[in-house]
Amino acid sequence: MLLIHCPYCEEERPEMEFRHAGEAHLERPKNIAEISDEAFAAYFFYRDNPKGVVFERWRHLHGCARFFNAARDTVSDKFLTTYKAGQPKPDLVGAANMNIPAKSGKSGK
């Protein structure tokens, strides 16, 4: 069971209290009604799924109930950082012992 630092509760809590909520920084297009089939599929279906650092959303469902973001290494399952929803993707260059995916920087936008 993972131990996750909730940026709102400001402490590490057991995974049991959290719900994973998929890839982070995927923004719902403002003009969603107009976008192409491909653009819609890219937004709704296509995912980064990196072997290495993933930017993902969690919800502290059984805690403060807030959604927040995390950067986690999908090889070691170690969290590099967690941060509040709405905050920009942190710059992790130089973060120690992390597996950089084949193509990093691709945000999935």
Partner: protein
């Protein structure tokens, strides 16, 4: 028009009690409860209305007389009034933008007390309940076995477990079973 008999609240755990040498589990009496939501700018006004300063630090609670305010999230508090003062009326006096929803009957509470109280809860609650990590007055929404609870430490060996009404049978049975193994 049939005569308006005044009805009594009947709690889901009416009459249940489980007591062992090191821990006792019993339902708490009826209470008023409000799920309070407000953004930072409304905190002081709402505090005034309530007559209790809303705690703004995670996991902390504040208390005034029979009224306790539990921090659940950055804009969420659970207010518990065990006395007679009308919670919603008091909140009504607060001139600010907030949401107050009556959940007096949604929740019901179980009091777990005794030297083995923390161990009993740790049978199903994955948080660190040592006094240094979860001191008297600490509160948190968390899990107990397979349900969600709000845990509130009211004394060194006394915890209040708030859960939704229909989960209370499970919560009580779980705690009783856990206590049995102490």
């Amino acid at each position: 028009m049939v005569e308006a008999t005044t009805l009594q609240r009947t709690l889901p755990l009416e009459g249940r009690v489980s007591s062992g040498p090191r821990v006792t589990i019993r339902p708490a009496p009826t209470a008023q409860r409000v799920s309070l939501r407000a953004s930072a700018d409304a905190v002081s006004a709402v505090s005034k209305g309530l007559g209790v300063d809303l705690p703004i630090t995670p996991k902390q609670s504040a208390r005034a007389g029979a009224r306790a305010v539990l921090w659940l999230g950055p804009d969420e508090w659970l207010v518990i009034e065990e006395g007679e003062r009308d919670l919603l009326a008091d909140l009504g006096r607060a001139k600010a933008l907030y949401s107050a929803v009556d959940v007096s009957h949604r929740n019901t509470a179980i009091v777990v007390s005794g030297p083995a109280a923390a161990d009993t809860l740790n049978a199903g609650c994955p948080q660190d309940l040592s006094l240094e990590a979860f001191p008297v007055g600490a509160c948190s929404r968390t899990v107990l076995g397979k349900i969600e609870i709000v845990l509130y430490r009211t004394a060194e060996d006394v915890f209040r477990v708030e859960c939704w009404r229909s989960f209370s049978q499970y919560a009580f049975a779980f705690l009783a079973e856990a206590a049995r193994a102490r």
